[in-house]
């Protein structure tokens, strides 16, 4: 073995594709080119099998029974939590709360961290490129408390104006909440700088990592953010399961946001005694098989290697940017210097929704619309865009087909 760190070996994409049963099919008579991974990615056999295995041999309710199955289910569920902790390099499983997804994770922080603390005139600082899931929960918390939402502007590339961000941090800022990666534009935000600036003023930071976790390795202790939210279904795992990482000292001080079973130690009619972390935030029977499937997805992704995934996806991004950029009448929306593997674009004379239908006839799945980020899309003066978002199982050939079909659509509408 060489002691010198080599460039990671290239991915065997054809072999990896065989791990994903859904990719083998034809759509409208054409091989499926699945380029909508930003909305939801596909699941490998290993994830499907882990969920099946759990349901076939382990299922019972967790944290409740003394019988064997309940113990197996509890062990599998808590092993999944430990797997997530390791994936994020969090300090403790007490900091890993299972939720339904990124949206619920952010809502938990809005309801349980912001609402009890916010006073009229306090501020929540976000950016102009956020997904609605990182806007609306704060608007709701603001409406309930009299706090105000502050929005850091973006430039024509789709990058956050960090000077403006810095000046918007104030003595009244209660929380900074930004995307790690923009779902509509692909921008990778300078999250280390954001955390450093906020912490310098004593302000905690929530990062919406839904679009980041599938693309690069994370180390939350190094990143030092206070909350981090992501979903299983964008990480090749099941839908309906997600994670909220929270700094233990903050979670400890937060009241529970939903009441029910599992989040209590004792209940009497004079009042409940809440359970310890993280169970305090997990009222009711959780999505146990989802957590098991998420752990399997993390195993799978780590097996492939996030470094190798990132390298191939950046190649795909460069190739798609060049191929699509050469299509007559096509404008790429979001040209940040640091981007994850997605390309948002508009085509002169062809509405994105028509483009989506036309590409579907070619077996090519993309997202069209405002991507639940209306302010970001409207900033560029368009009502909607088409978005191709790539996973490590995508190929240059699929991007060729995309570019060819987009050019044909443009010709059809001339």
């Amino acid at each position: 073995m060489s002691a010198v760190a080599a460039k990671p070996a290239a991915l065997d994409v054809a072999r990896l594709r065989a791990d994903f049963p859904v990719l083998a099919q034809r759509i409208n008579g054409k091989p499926l080119a699945y380029l909508d991974n930003g909305a939801s990615s596909q699941r490998p056999h290993a994830v499907i099998e882990a969920e099946r295995h759990y349901a076939s041999e382990m299922h019972a309710n967790v944290h409740r029974g003394v019988h064997t199955l309940s113990q197996r289910a509890t062990d599998a569920f808590e092993a999944a939590r430990e797997r997530v902790r390791r994936f994020l390099n969090a300090r403790s499983t007490r900091e890993i709360v299972f939720t339904r997804g990124t949206t619920e994770s952010i809502n938990l922080v809005a309801q349980s961290f912001v609402r009890p603390r916010a006073r009229p005139g306090d501020e929540i600082l976000i950016t102009h490129l956020e997904h609605h899931a990182n806007i609306v929960p704060w608007q709701m918390a603001c409406a309930a408390t009299g706090a105000m939402l502050k929005v850091a502007p973006i430039d024509r590339r789709g990058e956050v104006d960090m000077e403006a961000f810095r000046s918007l941090l104030s003595a009244r800022t209660l929380l900074v909440a930004t995307a790690h990666v923009s779902n509509a534009l692909g921008t990778v935000l300078p999250v280390r700088e954001i955390v450093a600036l906020a912490h310098a003023r004593g302000v905690p930071v929530l990062l919406d990592g839904a679009q980041a976790v599938p693309h690069f390795a994370l180390d939350l202790q190094a990143l030092d953010c206070d909350f981090y939210a992501f979903s299983g279904h964008k990480l090749y795992g099941p839908d309906g399961i997600g994670v909220l990482y929270g700094r233990e000292s903050l979670l400890e001080a937060m009241p529970p946001w939903q009441g029910g079973g599992d989040m209590i130690l004792a209940v009497s009619f004079s009042g409940p005694t809440y359970n310890q972390l993280p169970f305090k935030f997990e009222a009711g029977t959780p999505h146990i098989s989802g957590a098991v499937g998420l752990a399997a997805a993390i195993d799978y992704v780590d097996g492939v290697g996030l470094e190798r995934i990132a390298a191939w996806e950046q190649e795909l991004l460069g190739y798609a940017t060049a191929r699509l950029g050469a299509v007559d009448g096509l404008t790429i929306i979001g040209t940040a210097r640091d981007k994850a593997s997605l390309v948002s674009f508009v085509v002169e004379g062809v509405h994105p929704h028509d483009l989506g239908t036309i590409l579907d006839q070619e077996g090519i799945a993309i997202r069209t619309g405002h991507h639940c980020a209306m302010p970001a899309i409207e900033f560029f003066g368009v009502p909607a865009t088409a978005r191709a978002s790539f996973a490590f199982y995508n190929t240059r050939e699929e991007i060729d087909r995309l570019a060819t079909a987009v050019a044909a659509a443009r010709a059809m509408f001339r």
Binding site: N28, G349, V350, H351, P352, H353, D354, T357, I358, Q361, T368, G369, H370, P383, A384, M412, F413
Partner: protein
């Protein structure tokens, strides 16, 4: 489904050169329609002369199906009574959602929308203008949404 069934020449033409595009000032009735799925936004303006729609315009932005459908609608309903328009909407709705029946002759050029039924995700695009016209004529004044 064949794309040419959806994007017929009539549709492409009305998308590129929408008829009766523009606005009418009050006292013309108006209503706004919105399709949140794709961001289509339409405003329909209608002048009523008794029960008869004597003038009709629309403005907004949207996909080819929504723009062409609105353009075709403005041509089809001008000079008709509210009751006649209601009946025509029923026929258009059947055309968009049923695959079995041939388009009745009274639909005229609106029959160009017959390909939409093969693309269920696009039915709302084609029907948005009709729902919005209904709202304008009822004078409800509340924005119409397809969701």
């Amino acid at each position: 489904m064949d794309l040419k069934e959806l994007y017929r020449d009539v549709i492409l033409d009305h998308n590129k050169r929408p008829r009766n595009f523009g606005r009418l000032e009050p006292p013309a009735h108006s209503a706004r329609g919105h399709n949140p799925l794709c961001g289509d936004q339409l405003t329909i303006y209608a002048t009523l002369d008794g029960e008869v729609v004597s003038e009709l315009r629309f403005e907004g932005s949207g996909c080819a199906i929504s723009v062409a459908s609105a353009s075709l609608m403005t041509e089809a309903v001008r000079g008709k009574t509210r009751a006649e328009i209601g009946r025509l909407f029923g026929l258009v709705h059947d055309l968009l959602t049923r695959s079995d029946a041939p388009a009745p002759a009274e639909l005229g050029k609106l029959a160009a929308l017959s390909g939409v039924h093969g693309f269920p995700a696009r039915v709302k695009c084609a029907s948005l203008c009709w729902h919005t016209l209904n709202a304008a004529l009822e004078g409800a004044g509340v924005p119409v949404s397809t969701e």
